[in-house]
Symmetry: C2
Subunit: 339 residues, 2 copies
């Protein structure tokens, strides 16, 4: 199976993107990667490495879309950019079943929407990362930023799409689906929550377990948490901010402390590193853009080879599980019931 | 100055509430506390302690409002509850200038709204905690849960009220006010954000610095962050959840680790405790309910004596700074300009 990689997207492109792609080839023998980007920059990196040349395709693209550009404008006008050419390749080749980019989130979303296309019946595609939890399983957060203003029906679709995604990635048959709210009681929430709650409760064939507080997102008690993209962004970033602050304070305490603190810090370093690694959701792959016709994975902008490798394997796994088709089916079944 | 304390509100009431009140008397010689609650339960606690009897008033109240009750119903019908009697005392006595409760948040807010009354012109009172930041200053988050559905004008009022609050508590002349959004750029945000952004930008005499990402709430770069109560709740709880998870993982790493991890954990314990203490916003007092006619502080439900003491001192400080009057003035000046 072919996974198309935007080799020029991301803060550490193209080097870490190319190296991560080669790592993915080692990890999965059934994989071919299509590196789209400036071959004059990609080739020197490849030349330093040993890899199975038959499983790397190169597509030259001299232009790059940056984070500062208007996404819609850039997708429309930069035909020679690595992102646009990667999407074009994805859609022109049936055996290309997945796509990975660490480039501008806005441009990836707009590009996926315009080039890959929305699955018929999906009201709004949504961006969904998988977060690590205290129990060691993962939890899907959907939407985490693609749609800042939502209606209840959008949230219902996020639940159906996120369910197919969780089934593929988390190895759970019937994901426990919760609605993000300001309390666990059924009556909690704002207007949007109340409406979405009723829709989710009425939806047959899903395992809706009720409201979930933001405090419990990482508890491991849920497999999928549904929310609008604005709140998803707030929840995700707030958790990140708190984690960064605590680790920063801990470091300050160690470096600014006496001999005891310094020694303790030194001894505990591997443990702390392990915790950070387990809790770093970026290391486990990217966020999937659910609701478009092929698998699109957005890797973090600061992705290193490890994240890129994880994102590529994730894209392949979603393609193997036929997640876009499953989403299509779920949405169309729903539409059929309503008719 | 008298501060009225709901002695029966909170998971650890009445003992920790009473002890915290006595601690506040030691910390501030100008303070009198009015303990409202079941005297048969309060007196045995007082009898074990040494304190200035002239500065403790007791008001007997045999009933208690629990977390499970409907707030509006409870406030209306439970006339003999500690919460209702405490509010009644607050409003009947001019020298009672502040109120503290660790009881049901809903009941405290409804009670404050109904008994203390909204300041004329304030569209919505709001709940505002002060969070510790990485730079050691504090940041006010307003609203963090009182209003789940807001209009832009509510957010503008949150800014004016939060400004007066930050001036009193954070010792800053002109607080840096930011709007919580899904990115720092001016165009980021949902519909509500866009409208509120324009209102805040147009407001003269405040220091509006633009949008703030949830990742940077604790950065120390802002003194006041304005948002609707639903988003504020998500931001606050998500940060709490992340902090709890990281500390939990760290503990797991230490206890489940080898000798090195255990020794490191032992040596680092005081440092970690110090960090947790600095970052525990509950220890620094409560959340103030801004926009009502007198100072109302909601202390965390699990408050121990230290938090209660801090909340009482905070209530006094807000009364000394005449924060309710300052809010009244700010809102009325605004109304006058608009006429």
């Amino acid at each position: 199976m072919k996974i198309v990689v935007d080799a020029m997207g991301g803060d550490l492109a193209p080097k870490e993107i190319v190296l991560g792609s080669l790592d993915a080839l080692v990890a999965d023998k059934d994989l071919t990667v299509v590196l789209v980007g400036d071959v004059d920059k990609i080739n020197p990196i490849l030349q330093e490495e040993k890899y199975d040349k038959a499983r790397v395709e190169l597509v030259d693209a001299k232009d790059v879309i940056s984070n500062d550009e208007s996404p819609t404008m850039a997708i429309k006008t930069k035909k020679e950019s690595s992102l646009v050419k990667a999407f074009d390749y994805l859609m022109a080749n049936e055996d290309a079943e997945g796509f990975v980019s660490a480039g501008s989130t806005g441009a990836v979303l707009v590009g996926a929407f315009m080039k890959v296309g929305r699955i018929k019946g999906v009201s709004r595609p949504a961006l969904a990362p998988i977060l690590p939890t205290a129990k060691g399983n993962g939890v899907v957060l959907c939407d985490c930023g693609a749609n800042v203003d939502c209606k209840a029906v959008n949230l219902l679709h996020f639940a159906l799409m996120g369910r197919a995604y969780a089934q593929a990635m988390l190895d759970v048959e019937e994901p426990r689906i919760a609605l993000l709210s300001n309390g666990v009681e059924d009556h909690k929430g704002n207007e949007l929550c109340h409406e979405a709650f009723e829709l989710l409760k009425a939806e047959e064939g899903i395992n809706f377990v009720g409201n979930c507080e933001a405090r419990d997102i990482l508890s491991g008690d849920y497999d999928l948490i549904v929310c609008d993209g604005f709140n998803g962004n707030i929840a995700l970033k707030s958790a990140e901010g708190a984690a960064t602050t605590i680790i920063g304070e801990l470091k300050k305490g160690v470096y600014g402390g006496g001999l005891r603190a310094k020694l303790g810090g030194l001894l505990l370093k591997p443990t702390l590193k392990g915790v950070m690694k387990r809790m770093d959701y970026n290391a486990h792959g990217g966020a999937c853009f659910l609701g478009v016709n092929k698998v699109v994975v957005k890797s973090h902008g600061a992705s290193k080879r490890k994240s890129i490798c994880a994102s590529i394997l994730q894209a392949k796994s979603l393609a193997v599980h036929k997640t876009p088709e499953n989403i299509k089916q779920a949405i169309q079944q729903k539409a059929a019931v309503e008719e």
